[in-house]
Subunit: 397 residues, 2 copies
């Protein structure tokens, strides 16, 4: 772990000072003379925050850096899933190379941690996860990657998937995923019983995709709540997307939120522009842990997205109609501390003793930095410089 004297920065847009980093941890804020042999960096009076976090993405799916993937297919969720599973190899979406590109892009834009769902299905077995594991090892010290064993194609409708998830958890996937137990799997009791049993067996947290909207999604959330209570998994479950919380029924959503609070369920949002999404300000008021994610970027599902959590902060902020400085500050919180709260990252933060995972931002204030979206002047991971002016220190393959 590295030593570094980072001079001339403004922690959380506050007063200018130096940040002293020893053995990869923040050792102090103030004015320091460099110790012999200690590298010194001038932060140019930039804002410094703890590293950005992409807490919901799909490292294994992007076509970034590949020839343009033309897509005039129907936009049906099941068809998107099947097309990808059946064609990803032929298209040339190599899980290792593409996850390297995606993760390095995120690091270049200031991210220091990723939670990535990675597809597991009988067609590919664990080969896709293995490709992303290779990326995780190569990028150790650049960006931390947590992997969700993700049954993208379903569990009940895809025999053999349960055993693969079991094996993936045994081999070290940190989190267990799930997806639309009604919409995709057509058997909510079936999928959720299996997912919770596997999570209990391996003592791993759950992060389930829930695109199901309105009453259907609320029903599935209730089934999840029942199983959290039954298995004592309070504080160990996250729901990604949670579009049901975007339904136009203030009172019904309030009841769901009460349960999220009681069971300490976390929410991950991508601010999906064309869907009904949870109100991040309402979740904040309730005290729910909320992180943000880029989701897929430029994949066979759709062409949009950038490997940049400030780009995503803009999407989340605009979707939620946020305009006040205080609200913009909260959006920045979601794509940094919020993700750490969901992933329960130890030592994350901008305090003495925290790991020195830092991102420098341009702007006068935190709100200004969120909307300005300029290249990040500097990114630091464990005290080591990992990117400068939007360029990572490692090249994309």
């Amino acid at each position: 772990m590295s030593n570094l004297l980072l001079r001339n920065v403004r922690p959380m847009a506050g007063d200018n000072c130096d940040v002293l980093i020893k053995d990869g941890k923040i050792a102090g804020f103030g004015q320091f003379a460099p110790e012999p042999g200690m590298p010194v960096e001038d932060g140019g009076n930039s804002i410094v925050i703890p590293g950005l976090i992409d807490a919901h993405t799909h490292l294994d799916k992007t076509t970034w850096g590949m020839p343009w993937h033309e897509n005039n297919r129907a936009a049906v969720l099941r068809e998107r899933i099947d097309f990808e599973r059946e064609n990803r190899s032929a298209i040339g979406i190599d899980p290792h190379r593409q996850s390297m590109r995606h993760a390095i892009g995120l690091a270049a834009h200031g991210a220091t941690h990723i939670r990535s769902h990675v597809d597991i299905d009988p067609t590919h077995g664990l080969s896709i996860v293995e490709g992303v594991w290779e990326t995780r090892e190569k990028l150790r010290g650049i960006i931390d990657i947590e992997i969700v064993a993700f049954p993208q194609s379903g569990v009940m409708v895809m025999p053999g998937t349960t055993e693969l998830l079991d094996e993936a958890l045994r081999q070290g996937c940190e989190v267990l995923g799930g997806i639309d137990p009604c919409g995709i799997d057509r058997d909510p009791k079936g999928q959720l019983d299996i997912i919770f049993a596997l999570a209990v067996k391996h003592q791993r947290p759950i992060d389930i995709h829930l695109h199901e909207a309105a009453d259907l999604g609320a029903f599935t959330m209730e089934l999840i709540f029942e199983r959290i209570r039954a298995h004592g998994m309070q504080g160990k479950v996250a729901i990604s997307h949670a579009f049901a919380l975007g339904m136009n029924d203030y009172i019904r959503v309030g009841k769901l939120i009460d349960e999220l609070v009681a069971l300490d369920v976390a929410i991950l949002t991508t601010g999906a522009p064309s869907a009904a999404v949870p109100s991040v300000m309402r979740l904040k008021e309730a005290g729910i842990r909320v992180g943000g994610g880029c989701d897929g970027i430029r994949d066979t599902w759709g062409p949009w997205g950038q490997p940049d959590m400030l780009d995503r902060a803009k999407i989340i902020g605009m979707k939620n109609g946020l305009r006040k400085d205080r609200e913009l500050e909260h959006v920045l919180h979601i794509v940094s501390q919020g993700g750490a709260d969901v992933m329960q990252i130890e030592g994350y933060g901008l305090k003495v003793g925290c790991t020195a995972d830092l991102t420098l931002l341009t702007g006068e204030t935190l709100a200004h930095a969120v909307v300005d979206i300029g290249p990040r002047p500097l990114v630091v991971k464990g005290g080591r410089i990992t990117a400068r002016q939007g360029q990572a220190v490692v090249d994309m393959p």
Copy 2:
């Protein structure tokens, strides 16, 4: 007007060729030898399209390039309007300087035409319009600016505004604006009768802001339709925002669309991320003229936005849930030809004889170019180069 041989480009992402420009107009596509004294540019195999068009913006409002404007005020429309009118001078939002920055930013990102609403109210008289007129003169040959005389603060609730609009049209504003006859003015018959009478008197088109949603907005649209019929203003009216068309009632919206078609009313959309917006694909199927606009960027209303019509294309595309290549091509159409259709710009297009207003884009295909949002390699206005690699040939003040 200028001559130029633009080599090595792909018109609308088609086959590579040269574009010959004489006297500011497109003289031919093919392979040409430069004539003596004719400037030659290499387009680097970029895509070339006709210039991007921002058909709904507010050049007079931005704080771009000024100190960060902190905003923790309530997000009530009437309060935003009154705060801006009462404080814009004190904040230092000089209409000329700020409209220069905004317009040059748009030109740097490939726009060749702007329709800007400009505030007219009894507090400022025509002084704000005069500032933007000065910008229009200074930027002649860089970007064309069409000005909408815009009663931002209302007509009926702001005595003296009617006379100012009359004078603004007399002095040369090309279009007459209006705003939320119910929501802002509390007297829909009153405002609309005045607006239509002024438009008829000066023989000018109308472009009215309509944030009113659902049934209220539909009612106002019906009042507008009645007056278009009464005054024979078919083809001369545009509705900006038109959130009522985003209401969740397919049949009711269909009836409104039938009237838009019958009366050739144009729609301008900004893809407002937190509102219910018109479906651009449904409007396309109906054959309605649709343009796009950046709306306000970083002003006292809100912090978001860039002076970049590809950034806006992304917002419109994501909001509409568009993912197919054919759909992305339509989004590009909206921010180029669509704007020209609404503004009825003569000589616009990528054909022999059209004005040589051209924007180069990076990307393999048009769809790729829309999501890539790289710096525009080159922008040409009337055959003259106005921007290179995202930098305009004129400096921002």
